[in-house]
């Protein structure tokens, strides 16, 4: 993901609050989701609040040709065209759903652009039709977040900021809202900063990742690079996983399997995917679900075997190694025991076969 100087978002902020010190410099593309990822206390929310102008910070923020703050100026929060989705929704309790949606629409940040997100569109996209006359306290957590997202979109932001919008939801509502978010991502050309500490959300939504720890940026880059870089903490997690972009081919009704293409390889997923042939899908593949063989196995029950080249190998703990693999169409991670790695004499540059025990659409 490249960002030239005139498009996209450029952030370079410093913020000190008591003992906490935040320094973050990164760029994000003019469209797509950039995840701000890190453990709690890393400064993710503070960063988002500083970008929105809710928390005063030093430094500069520029989006496209517009500067929100630099040495000369500091735009107050209400003059920055952001849509902010808070973790707790923050609907106005004295207004019904319609009133909440219209609040942002009446004060919208950009009255000049043609309305991709007019009221009816947002209501349809987020299925808010039946909720319009209800008061916020009559809504479930998931419904409140859908309204909050609609309200943010209707203010016609130039940047959408989402602060762990799924964190307060149960698993069912989380899945449902993730679907809406993915849908949204496909249908809008709006840059999104998405704060999260959940790797599965990141894998499903993000194109780009900014890794934050203790107020410092560790690294940023395309999501799968970040997930599979062995020098970054994500690959050391017991749930370390890679994200593969695959193309949906067809459904095999005889065995209830969906076929997807990864380059010239065919992979099988159980069940029928809700996709049309040619659709691009993301698969999340856990490192611990991949085993390596020197030769292509025959007579095995494992369906998905992909030839790969070992890029790098690193000890995860005394018992296990994590291996970064190049499929030719994206990186994968494999977790193998150190004993196996020694026995197979695994080394970088080597051609091996990755056997994928299972994989799933993330989320």
């Amino acid at each position: 993901m490249s960002t030239d100087n005139r498009s996209g978002l450029h952030v370079d902020l410093q913020l000190t609050r008591g003992p906490f010190n935040l320094q973050a410099k990164f760029s994000a593309a003019a469209a797509g989701v950039t995840a701000i990822f890190g453990p709690s206390g890393a400064g993710k929310s503070s960063l988002l609040q500083a970008i929105a102008g809710l928390l005063p910070a030093q430094g500069s923020i520029r989006i496209g040709n517009h500067s929100w703050q630099d040495e000369q100026q500091y735009l107050p929060a209400h003059r920055r065209p952001v849509g902010y989705v808070f973790q707790d929704g923050r609907l106005f309790p004295h207004l019904n759903v319609r009133g909440n949606l219209e609040y942002g629409m009446r004060r919208r940040h950009n009255t000049a652009v043609p309305t991709d997100y007019d009221f009816a569109h947002a209501v349809a996209l987020l299925r808010l039709g039946e909720l319009l006359e209800r008061m916020p306290h009559q809504l479930s957590g998931g419904e409140q977040q859908r309204v909050a997202i609609g309200r943010a979109l209707l203010s016609k932001p130039a940047l959408l900021l989402m602060d762990e919008p799924l964190a307060s939801l149960d698993a069912g509502h989380k899945r449902e809202l993730l679907g809406y978010l993915q849908n949204l991502q496909h249908k809008s050309a709006l840059p999104v900063l998405y704060v999260s500490h959940a790797p599965d959300e990141v894998a499903r939504l993000a194109d780009h990742l900014v890794l934050l720890d203790k107020g410092r940026k560790l690294a940023d880059g395309p999501v799968n690079d970040m997930l599979t870089r062995l020098d970054l903490p994500l690959s050391l997690d017991s749930d370390a996983a890679a994200v593969l972009s695959v193309t949906y081919t067809d459904y095999d009704s005889a065995f209830d399997l969906s076929r997807v293409a990864l380059g010239s390889n065919t992979l099988y997923l159980p069940g029928r995917l809700s996709a049309a042939p040619g659709d691009t899908l993301r698969l999340r593949v856990l490192a611990r679900d991949i085993s390596l063989t020197i030769e292509r196995q025959t007579g095995t029950s494992i369906l998905n075997i992909v030839p790969v080249r070992i890029v790098e190998l690193r000890e995860q703990n005394p018992a296990q190694c994590i291996v970064r693999l190049d499929t030719g169409n994206g990186m994968l991670l494999a977790c193998v025991t150190r004993k196996s790695a020694t026995a197979l004499q695994l080394d970088s540059g080597q051609q091996v076969y990755a056997q994928i025990k299972s994989m799933a659409l993330p989320g």
């Binding site: 209400h78 609907l91 942002g104 203010s155």
Partner: protein, 226 residues
Amino acid sequence: MLNSADLQALAITLQLAALSTAVLLVLGTPLAWWLARTRSHWKPAIDALVALPLVLPPTVLGFYLLIAMGPDGPLGAFMTAIGGQPLAFSFAGLVIGSVIYSLPFVVQPLQDAFSRMGQGPLDAAATLGAGRMDRWLSVVLPLARPGYITAGVLGFAHTLGEFGVVLMIGGNIPGSTRVLSVAIYDHVETLEYGRAHLLSGVLLLLSFALLLAVYRANRRFRMMRP
């Protein structure tokens, strides 16, 4: 029924309560807002000052006000300097006394309402493009409405029952500073128990009705709180 002197006392009482409440809501709003938001180390001292009329005998308050409003006091000297009427034993003096006397009854419910709403709704409104004044009118005021109803009614009802302060700084001038509570006191002094009963009954019912309104309003609006 009520004779004309008693009616006059009732009218003055209602005027005093209405005017004091209006002044208190205007002055109390920025004060309560500041108290709800500030992290200043002056806050505890200001909180204590605001709450002082709750515990202080009204006669003590009245005594200091009388001194201040007298010809040699700061307020009195100021009024003389600008060529105004002296404040002691005037209706204007009573309004000043009532504003101080009922201050906590107005500031505390407002402060409570402002701190209860927190910064969350204001931040949300700012990101949606609402400027400072807009946020106040579209978010703070509607969310603080139960607080304003409570503050207004309590301030009004409390001023109705004012006695000690009035006696010290207002005296007992019919048609100017003679309020209900003083009239009742006079009736008892002169053993006119019938008229004392009547006025006391009026005050009792009025106060009950007002408090009932507060509790009903609070119950109705509780669900709107964040």
